[in-house]
């Protein structure tokens, strides 16, 4: 492989010009820990998508109900259970302007709209024949029959031919449709987001503080204090926390504050464990001793050394506590133990939607999608944070 008798030109024997700095060259530019974390997080697409979604959601939740034309509690029973997407029909009947309407396939009623899909009002039938299962509507000279003798119901003209649709339009008055009491689904969704998110955030904060306090003390003092405190946590955590929340809600009665209290006083156990674990490890880390040998005081140790390194897992746990809180709150509301009427949370919306599921599935779609996407977003973000904070993943 190597030719020992290679001839080498004379100049090559001159001393090489080496930049001594090059010898110490380290491959990648060094970043501070937090720059590193931020960079890793930035590159994590699902996490970033999650974060964007959360920001948008929070924005919508705060601003949404302020800008929509409807309120979350306004009811219009005549316009209940209207879908977000309408199939419009056009009828002339010799009037000045044609009339547009659509049929609500759940109750076989007709509603008038304008040509773009803005609702006008419910229409009254001229004649209702329950035996033959047909309703007759008159528009000027034209007649329209709603025939529901067979399902799906059909719209027929005076001669018995099926009407052709004018077009499919998005409901302009109620973008997400209305629910069974004629309330705007969109604004209720946003309002529900507000409630669900607020409960989740506040409850998580409460958990956070209780957990940090409890775990911090337990970890910092160690020894018997730690043993006893952790035993207590063990006992509490053996039972699924949901049961505790249920019991508390039964006692406290449904309500906004109640659910926050219930979640807040129960879910801190995870945070406590994490904080305590961090405390124990960090207390004994070599660099704490190193800092001490350099004369650093206790406060300095805590803030410059212990805290920045503890923050990581705490932040991750915090981010992942939020979807748990959302889940519990909506779960509770779903079984009737969460926020009370007329407040809407995603849980109550889902529960209401289930009742009308057969006829009006769109009402379930929105809260289900909202909950799912939000949980996704937080989970992705939490996972991303966890990956970004773990230096062992540095390639």
């Amino acid at each position: 492989m190597s030719d020992v008798n290679i001839s080498v030109s004379k100049e090559k024997w001159a001393k090489a010009n080496l930049d001594t700095g090059e010898a110490e060259y380290i491959a990648a530019p060094s970043l501070t820990y937090w720059q590193d974390v931020r960079q890793r997080l930035w590159q994590n697409k699902p996490a970033m998508a999650g974060l964007t979604f959360i920001i948008l959601l929070v924005g919508a939740a705060i601003l949404g109900p302020l800008v929509t034309p409807h309120t979350y509690y306004e009811q219009d029973l005549k316009l209940s259970n209207i879908a977000p997407i309408l199939e419009l029909y056009e009828v002339d009947g010799g009037q000045e302007t044609p009339t547009y309407f659509f049929m609500n396939s759940g109750n076989f009623k007709l509603y008038e709209t304008d040509e773009h899909g803005t609702l006008k009002s419910i229409l009254r039938a001229k004649k209702k024949d329950l035996l033959k299962k047909r309703h007759l509507y008159e528009f000027g000279a034209d007649q329209v029959y709603v025939d529901f003798s067979q399902l799906p119901a059909r719209l027929l003209d005076g001669e018995g031919n099926e009407l052709s649709t004018y077009g499919t339009k998005w409901n302009q008055t109620y973008w997400f449709g209305t629910d069974s009491l004629g309330r705007d689904v969109l604004v209720r969704q946003l309002y529900g987001a507000r409630i669900s998110l607020t409960v989740a955030f506040i409850a998580t904060l409460v958990n956070f503080f209780i957990g940090i306090f409890y775990g911090g003390i337990s970890g910092y003092f160690g020894g018997n204090v730690d043993n006893v405190m952790m035993r207590i946590v063990e006992v509490i955590a053996t039972i699924p926390l949901t049961l505790y929340v249920i019991l508390m809600m039964v006692v406290l009665q449904s309500g906004f504050i109640s659910i926050i209290v219930a979640i807040g006083t129960v879910f801190w156990v995870d945070m406590a464990r994490i904080v305590r674990g961090q405390m124990l490890t960090l207390k004994n880390q070599d660099y704490v001793d190193a800092a001490k040998t350099m004369g650093a005081g206790t406060w300095r140790i805590l803030t410059r050394h212990l805290l920045p390194n503890t923050i990581g897992p705490i932040l991750v746990t915090l981010t992942l506590l939020i979807p748990s809180a959302i889940f519990i709150e909506s779960f509770m509301s779903f079984i009737g133990l969460g926020v009370s009427v007329p407040m809407a949370s995603w849980g109550t919306l889902t529960s209401e939607a289930v009742e009308t599921l057969r006829a009006y599935p769109y009402q379930l779609f929105f809260p289900a999608a909202a909950i799912s996407l939000t949980m996704f977003a937080f989970n992705f973000l939490g996972d991303g944070l966890r990956d970004a904070l773990d230096p062992r993943l540095r390639k």
Binding site: V4, K12, K15, A16, A23, E24, Y25, I26, A27, K395
Partner: protein, 336 residues
């Protein structure tokens, strides 16, 4: 009359294909191991010494591959055998022990079981016979109360004892070649010595060859017959231990020997490390890998990888350095 070497490695080149590019861990390594001799491979972290041996046994991680070269064990090229044939050799004719015995032993199985399974796999013995053999092995490696320790778990042993277990496990099928990857690095100094002496004693009793990988020159001096000095994925110098320790011919070897603190060093004398850091194997230097840190570096060194030159003083003494080219300037060639 030269006997065929037990292991003959020529041009071994191994790379890892990572998302950041190709890491050339081993670049053209040649060496022989004769039956019954102890060969030490010395080098810094990242020099390629461990990877060389993992390549030979084909134990590389999934993104690693031997891209060139051959490794002939008793005439057969290990790199071309089927996986089935390799399995027969591993643990049987060629055994390997690793650096950290705590993580290298399965924590959920008894040590007895971990050795018994090897024996049964390769020898097809009965359980009873295998157990008996394990007891013999434990006595060989001087584990006290051998018979009762079979049912113990790895975490019940101290570091030194665990390494003895690893050695016992490696010896279980009378290997012809034992590869020991930094067997004493994770142990206390006093235990280190015990383990080394044990290895030497066993070796002379059983007559097997050992490849001993280490970064500690003291270990080499204690145990090895011949030595390979590796740097940047290549063999820089090779020869008999005494020759090399007395008169190293490669600047890197010279630097290594000079950097070892000696008991007799005068109080005020400074330690003499080799300045600089090991090369980045993702983008290794074009020429000699040691050139950036070498005091004697010449233009040719930076431009071209030096060929391997035979040294006059002794057979099998070779150096990969331009300084030993016939035309090289003589005055810069002096021992440190």
């Amino acid at each position: 009359m030269s006997t065929q070497p037990l292991l003959e490695v020529r041009g071994l080149t191994t790379s890892f294909f990572t998302s950041r590019g190709e890491v050339q861990a081993v670049r053209g390594v040649n060496f022989d191991v004769l039956a019954g001799e102890i060969v030490g491979i010395v080098g810094e972290s990242g020099s390629g010494k461990s990877i060389t041996c993992m390549s030979i046994l084909r134990l590389l991680k999934s993104n690693g591959r031997v891209v060139q070269g051959h490794a002939k064990f008793e005439g057969a090229n290990l790199l071309e055998l089927s996986e089935h044939e390799m399995r027969k050799l591993r643990g049987d004719d060629i055994a390997m022990i690793f650096q950290d015995p705590m993580t290298s032993l399965n924590p959920t199985l008894t040590v007895g079981e971990q050795i018994i399974e090897t024996i049964i796999t390769h020898r097809g013995s009965s359980r009873k016979a295998a157990r008996q053999r394990v007891v013999e092995l434990f006595e060989l490696v001087k584990i006290p109360e051998a018979a009762s320790r079979l049912s113990s778990y790895p975490h019940e042993f101290s570091g030194g004892m665990r390494q003895r277990v690893m050695i016992a496990m490696a010896l279980s099928c009378d290997p012809k070649l034992l590869i020991a990857d930094e067997p004493t690095t994770a142990l206390d100094v006093t235990i280190q010595r015990q383990i080394l002496l044990l290895l030497k004693e066993i070796q002379s009793r059983l007559g097997m060859a050992i490849i001993l990988i280490t970064h500690d020159l003291g270990v080499i001096a204690e145990v090895a017959d011949r030595i390979l000095v590796m740097y940047g994925g290549m063999v820089m110098e090779t020869g008999e231990v005494n020759t090399i320790f007395a008169a190293p011919t490669h600047p890197y070897t010279q630097g290594l020997l000079a950097s070892v603190p000696k008991l007799r060093t005068a109080n005020k004398e400074r330690l003499r490390p080799i300045p600089g850091s090991p090369p980045d194997m993702l983008r290794p230097p074009i020429g000699c890998p040691f050139a950036p840190r070498c005091v004697h570096a010449m233009e040719i060194c930076v431009e071209q990888v030096p060929p391997t030159f035979d040294m006059a003083d002794q057979e099998l003494h070779q150096t990969k350095c331009w300084l030993h080219h016939p035309d090289a300037p003589k005055n810069s060639e002096d021992a440190a």
